[in-house]
Symmetry: D2
Subunit: 390 residues, 4 copies
């Protein structure tokens, strides 16, 4: 077999317009595909160093504006206009409608209730008893381990080490707070250094793998749902009956009845989100703001809970146990992405919880709109009118 | 409460540079955020009609090139250079390394084994017996229902109606093949028309909701894992021992041993993907090629399976039960996205299975690289070297 | 290491009082434990041949009587007194209370909505494409395979072969109706013969294992919840408001409100039964009637669904997707167990669906009582009064 | 509707032979069923007070003897003969075979790695923020809450209060060690008293339900798998290659290969036990020893893990995260059940961990035998020979 040509790289200056153009020509030569619009970017290639390799240009994702949404959060407070990057027609309009229903009902409360980002090494022993005793040793030495892990990072802090013994192994989750970063790399490095220290200090010098797979990085898990990963965030509001009727054309009593049916559907299907469609809003907001887009896999999990109130209004909430997001590091500093964060006053230090609250508020808005559309029979017709749908 | 100002819209021409600029100014006026790079797009706003509302510009996602990867698929055959849109440093380099290991081992086989896209109406009855009898009626009238549903679409075809009776309801999944479209809207419309026909024809005139939530649109579910959603795709190759040692610096026997440990971790955590990190490659490829990015939530689920062979090589596979993708419609026709599809010769009619095969191949490549890095101890250091990691 | 003495067995007549006594003496000699009450059984050891090996006597499980419960089922119709074998104080009393609430509300409707018992061979191939083509061959040859499988059994019938391709394997579920038997052995034998036939007939002579583990015999699974195992059974009734208030001392509106909270708890916990405590009634009824008691693991899964009606009554249902039970074979013919079945007019041919309906009715009764006790605050106090609780 | 006759009860002396006979006659009169063998019990009805209501006699479960099994546990040490109550032919013989393979390989190590029994109240608030602050208050007041809960029980001790905020509620798990009791009632009472104290002391006087359903009492859950319920127990041994070949007629390398296939099956099916059939042994041992038989639903969950060793032997383990058992209270003191516990030297104080170790050892033995039978092709034929199978 002849090996296909390698992608051209430059040792001196790989993050340049020229080198990007060289790679585009290489592709055009081999595939016939012209990359004119990919090449028509307005950002400086030097800015993407550390974000991508073999840079050839940019994908331009259409950006729409949803809102305003009125948020009464701990960190996010006021009216927000939310940038959503999407290619799915109707999405921005639908989220905007939900935001309006929320705002006209008085706004949404948002609360971050837990922080926990992990790396999850597994330690190997001769038998389960050794593993259990090692677990006791970890608890006894937690302060020292915390100091060792903490030596590698300014913003990360080791909070606890969860233990899950299986067979002759101890699966652990090293759980951190990570400040304004999502923290997967930070916790990876800190945990690696901690593990090396543990290996030296513990009499058994236990072997380990830095991931025993229970951090479930970039994939949903029951572990995330139960133990939290990233931030656990709750958004809640009370939908006024007149707003439901006038704006959404549904009765709260019907929303409540449908909730029972959808909740049973979620149980029947084993669905990891029991509401309507968290992933749409999360994906669009994540792409807009330079989040790691793969985190949609984890962040979209959640639980919807509602109660019909005696006055006919409807309490409606979403709880998201694994919102993984950042306002610092990763893609947040890229030119267009940074502007999206700035639109929300969420760029940089001290803004991560605020941003997480906005994420939850957006998810709730999307569910309000789509659920109402399913009930009111608007769902198909609005996609016909607004979506390309061909 | 004073209502915040609504987002400016134009009834005449909302998809214009001017109107986008008006909205940007509106945001700058209210938030102080300058949107210079968002406004520096090179695509024609008229092209995003049907993809977004309240357009204000574009997000420029860095695009890197991974590969080449040699694929011996049913539909995808040859060497591919894969466009990945990401902001996560190391990702493109890591996938490229996995692709090289695969190619040097002779390439990857890819197979689409099932097609099934759904809309999932729930029908309401007085009791379970009525629901069960209605289910028998659906089976008896399947040909007519298929014809009615088929009248709304050229490329969609109703294959079967799965039935899940709960309480006094019949939850159903109307399962379609959808050609080169992902098909969520197509199946929504077809099923709506079918349901209206059913409601007229069946003696009980049963009430229904167009979604009983077991289509689990935009969220992972056990239902997807078992029954398939979109395309079920398998990628498999045999990693040669010398490639493992020379390129990846691991022994296949160690990969196999670690597989046991990671599989147990996946069970312990209740993880919906038992390999390393499907979501990274899927998200990056989906964004590049105009897929609905929220589908990462469903598409990232899967099962890894390996066997150490007697000659020391290692059979390695991923099975993805819910790959939701398109080569037609949605965002696939947008300028930069279309070019990415063209790079893969995957734009337009008759290409969806080919594209799905590439998705699975990319996922496998990413797992090969990351898993090896975890074993070889490269994981943290490569992120230090290549990722921004600050 | 010295090997401990083997248990005494008799080649001539192992199922005799004498041989049982010999084994009891053997145990007393080695452990000091006297087995007086175990030895005081009233059944003929000859009757347990085929049910147990190394027989030493019997365990006497206390048997209580619950009811009457009024059932308006397809097969079970009238008032039933239900034998429950249990050692948990309060259980019989609590189920009786629930049965009374159901009966005073007019009785419970019960419906068996699906039958499907499996053996699940996995077939091994070189690659996924071979596996997929083999799957097509199975469909094309289903009639012949059905005939071959059917040749081994009078009451079993192969209905369909579900297919789940993973890697280079085809996991299948051979799904049968099994008449009045639970059917695990019957389907095992039939599927073995069918697999041997398939191996001979198919050009590839595929290797296989008789269980690829997706029959999930004796363990709960999402597969069971979605695809049914054994019988899928639904019980439903409308709790009258005055019965709720007078007998259960709860308001239906409070039951409904609590339902939301418990359903969210079930989602948060990843619970496989969303009601109160199916396993209690199922275990007690299964032991009483000679069911395979390990089937509690599968049979206890299910979904609770309720709706508050406009007149203040409360529709309440349970759906059990994996009730595995028999009225013929296994332990059903043992002396005390048979009497329990006869009490329900459920012994022998043509009674399995009737028995399954009673199972579901019993589960619902238990949930009615316990849920009400949790709400009314009786839960702890009744265990104090009636349970041993020391 | 005429109400069916109530079951006869005696206010003076309901636990007597006479009253049991009266109820049997009542049943015979209404159903025609004769209850001769049910009435032929040898235990004193007075002994079942606190275990059952409306006593009518006993079910006689056949009891077989399995073993010997050599256990090298922390608490269970030596050779054990294990009483199994079952009606499933082959079961005792198969477990005995597995026990022999284990013993001939040097015995099984058993380890209890965690104790945690729960009651799980949910507290209700106006919003998520209140719920979160209440959670902080719980942590700050843990010592006092522990003292209050501890005032109700000698053997129970509140270890921690896990917190799971959802919507405007705080779901909690009050986690206890419970000595030799299973502890569901003990923890119920202790938690009730603690909740009443909390309600009085906390400024908000929060409403609560004693179960928010995340204790998942009597049903399997992901929560159990991750957080433990009852006891988390591990059994492990190394199967010698010659024992595998001579006794089980399989090669360890084939067991290992099959492990991959069965593990993938477990993932595909979403099975809650990844080994062969934990529930069989657990149910039979639980019934024999007076355990609450409904606990099979929770106790059967678990994870199998194996590794082929370089010398050709096979390391094999099971990890059971939710073994719920007792050697004191409940049915453990009933005449036949107590004798079964005494056979294992597991009756009464200080024996619960020893018994839990035996449970895990038995489960492992059953998996060794059945898995080998599936591989060797003995599975169907042995059921033909030994099971009734008609």
């Amino acid at each position: 077999m002849t090996r296909a040509d390698p992608i051209p790289r430059s040792r001196e200056n790989d993050y340049s317009k020229e080198q990007a153009a060289t790679r585009c020509e290489f592709i055009t030569g081999r595939t016939g595909a012209r990359l004119d619009t990919i090449s028509s970017y307005s950002i400086d290639p030097a800015t993407v160093r550390g974000n991508v390799e073999n840079f050839i240009g940019t994908v331009q994702m259409p950006l729409g504006l949803a809102g305003p949404i009125h948020i009464n959060g701990e960190h996010a407070s006021g009216d927000f206009y939310v940038p959503l990057a999407t290619t799915e027609g109707t999405l921005v309009a639908s989220y905007s409608r939900g935001m309006r229903a929320i705002s006209e009902s008085g706004g949404v409360k948002t609360t971050v209730v837990k922080h926990s980002m992990q790396r999850a090494p597994v330690f190997l022993f001769e038998d389960a008893l050794q593993a259990r005793e090692f677990g006791a040793w970890l608890i006894a030495n937690l302060d020292e381990i915390r100091a060792v892990a903490g030596s590698t990072t300014r913003s990360g802090r080791l909070v606890e080490i969860e233990q899950y013994p299986v067979a002759n192994m101890l699966y652990t989750r090293f759980c951190y707070t990570t400040g304004d970063a999502a923290g997967q790399n930070m916790t990876g490095k800190a945990t690696f250094v901690a593990c090396e220290w543990i290996k030296r200090k513990h009499p058994l010098k236990p072997g380990y793998f830095l991931s025993g797979a229970i951090d479930t990085d970039k994939k949903h898990s029951a572990m995330n749902m139960i133990q939290t990963r990233g931030k656990r965030v709750i958004a809640e509001f009370t939908l006024k009956r007149e707003v439901a009727r006038d704006l959404l054309r549904v009765e709260p009593a019907d929303l409540y009845r449908y909730r029972q049916i959808a909740a049973v559907g979620a149980l029947q299907a084993g669905s990891v989100y029991s509401g309507a469609h968290s992933a749409n809003g999360i994906a669009a907001l994540f792409i807009a703001t330079g989040q790691d887009e793969a985190n949609v896999a984890e962040s979209h999990a959640g639980i919807t809970y509602g109660q019909l109130l005696e006055n006919g209004d409807y309490y409606w909430s979403v709880t998201l146990p694994a919102v993984i997001c950042a306002t610092h590091g990763g893609g947040t500093g890229l030119p267009t992405q940074r502007e999206c964060l700035q639109m929300l006053d969420c760029y940089g230090a001290g803004k991560a919880d605020k941003f997480a609250e906005i994420v939850a508020a957006v998810v709730l808005a999307g569910d309000v709109s789509l659920t109402s559309a399913v009930l009111a029979g608007d769902w198909v017709s609005s996609h016909e009118a607004m979506g390309r749908n061909r």
